[in-house]
């Protein structure tokens, strides 16, 4: 499965960034092959709509799932419209959460878990 993890850095050992719209990086990884790449998030400083724009971005990257810490209502709605599975509550390193996703240990979110601008 192709998944995007919100990340504070550019590799698998980086810590997950709990923000979705304003994360520093997306690590886009293939859970089967283990291949990954880091994609910077230009939305980190946008005035408004960071979550929606981040959802547009990961949709264009062709991911099927997003793993992050928290996801607000607009980003959640946009990700769902794009047909992307959302996993919130992620903690630890990017490698750890990807491993959990692969082993089916993450629970898919059914709604936004925070209000917009939660941080």
């Amino acid at each position: 499965m192709k998944a995007a993890v919100t990340s504070s850095g550019q590799n698998l050992e980086s810590h997950l960034d709990p923000r979705f719209g304003r994360c520093s990086w997306f690590i886009v990884a293939d859970t089967e092959t283990g291949e990954y790449r880091a994609v910077s998030n230009e939305q980190i400083n946008s005035v408004q709509g960071a979550g929606i724009q981040a959802a547009e971005k990961v949709s264009r990257l062709g991911v099927e799932a997003v793993i992050t810490g928290h996801c607000g209502p607009k980003a959640f709605r946009a990700l769902k419209a794009a047909g992307i599975k959302v996993y919130t509550g992620g903690q630890g390193t990017v490698a750890e959460v990807l491993d959990k996703l692969k082993r089916g240990l993450l629970e898919e979110a059914t709604s936004a878990d925070v209000e917009g601008h939660w941080m």
């Binding site: 408004q48 709509g49 929606i52 959802a55 946009a78 419209a81 794009a82």
Partner: protein, 286 residues
């Protein structure tokens, strides 16, 4: 007597006394026989009505245009999302989504849509209420709770208050879009400042803004204390005139806390405002 003068009462910092100055100024002018309207543009938290106690009559809802997408016509090309600077409309995996409270109502998506699938509909952002407080014609806007975009409502309040010879506009605090919207079109801006480092810092920002807009302006120092020359020195360094200094007086605060006009309960206050009104007219060149 003044002919068609619009005076905006603004400040950088909040809580410096805009409402105190604007309501007392309106009452002073009314007692002197002016045809006066008071226009409360602080639509996020209007409070002039607490002091003027108007009898409100007409109420009008204000809407902003937002896109409505005809999914039958839509070809999911994504052009609408590309043109929108506010992420208010986006196309994801063939689905067009709108986020109405992000929309600034520019109509760009409607123009850009190649198949005319987007129409405008109205989203209510607040109300404009009108009334009378004695001889004063009263207008204010009330923004819907949770609503972030106040400029369209402020414009509606200003255009509702388009009559009257002397128009006093109570402006929201700060230096951002709502403030610019409320003072644009004014003949003169009165900046209410308090003589504290924090107050003067924000006054500086507000003076930068009003200079940029090229509107004639001057300062009223509120809660002035003898021996505190901070505000006077600051205004001298910025080459801005101080039109009045309203003394710090516990009775003014007490009157305010009861929703009373200092003008009618604190001796000497009336004279301050009569002088201020004369100074404003002189400065505004009328």
């Amino acid at each position: 007597m003044a002919a068609r003068l619009t005076v905006a009462v603004a400040s950088g910092k909040g809580g410096t006394g805009k409402t105190t100055v604007s309501t007392n100024l309106a009452c002073t002018a009314a007692e002197l026989g002016y045809e006066v309207s008071y226009v409360d543009c602080d639509v996020e938290e209007p409070n002039g009505h607490l002091f003027l106690k108007p009898h409100l009559g007409r109420s009008r809802r204000v809407y902003v245009p937002v896109p409505s997408v005809d999914t039958e016509k839509c070809i999911a090309c994504g052009v609408c999302g590309d043109i929108c600077q506010y992420s208010a409309i986006t196309c994801l995996a063939g689905n067009v989504l709108t986020f109405e409270n992000m929309c600034h109502g520019c109509g760009g998506c409607q123009l850009a849509c190649p198949v005319q699938a987007i129409k405008e509909k109205g989203r209510e952002i607040g109300v404009v209420e009108e009334g009378h407080a004695g001889r004063i014609v009263f207008y204010h806007g009330r923004l819907r709770i949770g609503e972030a975009m106040s400029p369209p409502l402020i414009k509606a309040v200003l255009s509702a208050g388009e009559n009257g010879c002397l128009k006093i506009v109570d402006v929201p605090p700060g230096t951002s879009c709502p403030v610019v919207t409320a003072i644009r079109g004014a003949d003169f801006v009165v900046m209410v400042a308090e003589p504290t480092p924090f107050g003067l810092h924000d006054l500086g920002l507000a003076l930068d803004m009003v200079s940029e807009l090229r509107i004639p302006h001057a300062v009223v120092v509120n809660r002035s204390v003898p021996g505190n020359d901070l505000a006077r020195d600051f205004c001298r360094s910025r080459k801005v005139r101080v039109l009045a200094e309203i003394p710090d007086d516990r009775r003014v605060a007490e009157a305010y806390s009861r929703g009373e006009l200092a003008f009618s309960v604190v001796p000497g206050f009336r004279e301050h405002f009569e002088d201020l009104l004369a100074s404003i007219e002189r400065e505004a060149g009328r």
